[in-house]
């Protein structure tokens, strides 16, 4: 009970973000320990090799900085971009990647956490149970 309460305090301090249904989009402790859902998003980010274009820190390389982009990009536009790509700009379509499409909400949660500044480094770890 005490543990749960403490966690809640930390989350509040980190500025946890909430989706429309008021469940947290992601939860993060110490800037890099995240819930299993957000963890899935990180694993998807790595498996799809997004870092090749967006940089291992999401700060952008040949592709734009996602830390910046996700401040203005809506969830719907994010999903559309990942699914359909922006071929002329070099963003590939991940619509045929089951791993990416199955985990796109988690991917969004992870990247939104990075963009919000709540997740303070690219490599995250599970919150210890």
């Amino acid at each position: 009970m005490l543990r749960k309460l403490l966690l809640g305090v930390v989350l509040f301090a980190a500025g946890a973000s909430y989706g429309q249904d008021q469940t947290p989009l992601y939860t993060v402790v110490d800037g890099y320990k995240v819930d299993p859902f957000t963890m899935k998003g990180f694993r998807t980010w790595r498996a799809a090799a997004c870092d090749r274009c967006h940089g291992a820190n999401q700060e952008g390389l040949v592709g734009p900085s996602l830390v910046n982009s996700l401040k203005t990009l809506s969830k719907a536009d994010f999903v559309k971009t990942v699914r359909d790509g922006r071929l002329d700009k070099g963003m590939q379509s991940f619509g045929s990647s089951q791993q990416v499409m199955d985990n796109i909400d988690a991917l969004y949660a992870y990247l939104k956490g990075r963009s919000d500044g709540a997740i303070t480094r690219a490599k995250v770890e599970p919150i210890p149970q």
Partner: protein, 605 residues
Amino acid sequence: MRISWHTRLPWAGLGLALAALPGLALANADVEKLTANPKNWAMQAGDMYNQRHSQLKQINTGNVGKMQVAWTFSTGVLRGHEGSPLVIDGTMYLHSPFPNKVWALDLESQKILWKYEPKQDPAVIPQMCCDTVNRGLAYAEGKVFLQQADSNLVALDAKTGKVVWTVKNGDPKLGAVNTNAPHVFKDKVITGISGGEWGVRGFLAAYDINTGKQVWKGYSVGPDAEMLIDPKTTTTWMDGAVKPVGPDSSLKTWKGDQWKIGGGTTWGWYSYDKALNQVFYGTGNPSTWNPAQRPGDNKWTMSIWSRDVDTGKVKWVYQMTPYDEWDFDGINEMILADINVKGKPTKALVHFDRNGFAYTLDRTNGALLVAEKYDPVVNWATHVDMKTGRPQVVSKYSTAQNGPDVNTKGICPAALGSKDQQPAAYDPETKLFYVPTNHVCMDYEPFQVEYTAGQPYVGATLSMYPAPNSHGGMGNFITWDAGTGKIVQSKAEKFSVWSGALTTAGGIACYGTLEGYLKCVDKKNISKELFKFKTPSGIIGNVFTYEHKGKQYLGVFSGIGGWAGIGMAAGLEKDQEGLGAVGGYRELSQYTELGGSLTVFALPN
């Protein structure tokens, strides 16, 4: 004295005589004639030995400092510009990165004679992530050959730019795209394939220059028959001798069917020895970058190959980095030179590998003669065992031994290698190799990744930074004695030298820098910078030279991009280090901007 095929004039005559005889594989007399004339720059390397040396000497050590810009040409394309134009009898043929535009320019007026712009599916752009480079054109018998990004190999009429034939070389839906230059050897145009990061199974293929019909195709991995390996006659270096590879030499070194998505792509520069009738080239990394997923030596990725030009049959093969754990692609060019190796005249093949070792082999049989570090900071292996030919891996820097999800730190060189695709030059007068190098180290964390057709198949996160405790820069321009395996001179550069070198009979060696400088140095003393000029963008193209109406010109593509230029060096452990020295290439933005152009220099009238 320079001994190379195109100086043997009697052969050229014989080639012409044989041209009338059907059924014989003929030397390409046209390309021989064109490259023998130093006024032309008729192949990407200037010749078939990959030497990048010119006999022209009007521009020399005494006057190169007076060079001025003669003319410039914008390609209107923003991505990285690798390779160089070709110059053939008064016409220049230029290429661009995707969409792979081609121009023919009249050298007298610099007027565009024709322009070709292929329509390609933009879906190939992200498959070339992270840059859409193209390493240039080939020319033979009135045709210009272009290897498009979408894997179509195209022959254009050199007079009109009209398509003569097109052939599909690979399936872009699987990530099989192309960045390499095609090469014409004899009556064939030879090309390879990219996509090691997409799990593409590499190969080299030869097409008839007149019809585009495929003559042979040899895979890098898999069953002997598909690699065109004969277990009895194809040899490799083992136990201190050249021995037959034996049956299933590739299959035995892969787990199950993994070879089918095993990489070994072939996007480098190829060379050709007419006397041996062999084409030489290297194969790239095994897929994925996570070694835990592909136990075994992963033959024949990371290897040097010698194939018969007519049949594709493999004469010999040598693997530099068995079971790669660092993405040390073996595609860098094979330079053919007849040099003294440990005091003995040798038909040598010299190769500066991504793994940081420079190899000298006997190109007639693949015997290993020299393998030494060409950057002192190389640390992942102590040395190459000369008997087995295998590098002796240092456990601390083994990403396989440390295992997935562990970040192995301080590996030198970084994945982009002590040298990447930027080609070195060989100067027959100084008998030295002029090598543009990277001086970059990395942290490397492999992780489990699943293969999906047409999707990236990488499985490692990297961060790169300048070699610690060194001069602070990320590159060196060096001279190398391939007969002894020693660095003769080393000139520090702020960024990796990602541009191909040129040496000339005028006593100069020239190269470009990522900041955008074209530099020419005294080839006998490379610390003597004789000329320096800032071109419109960073240089990853290759320096070339030609003569027109009695005047020598020297040129280079600028247009920042490529792996180094794009700035792969993110991926830092600590965000606060983000824009500091650790993100080495990020600093490039303080020096240069995107934009492709050709700058051509000459002495003032």
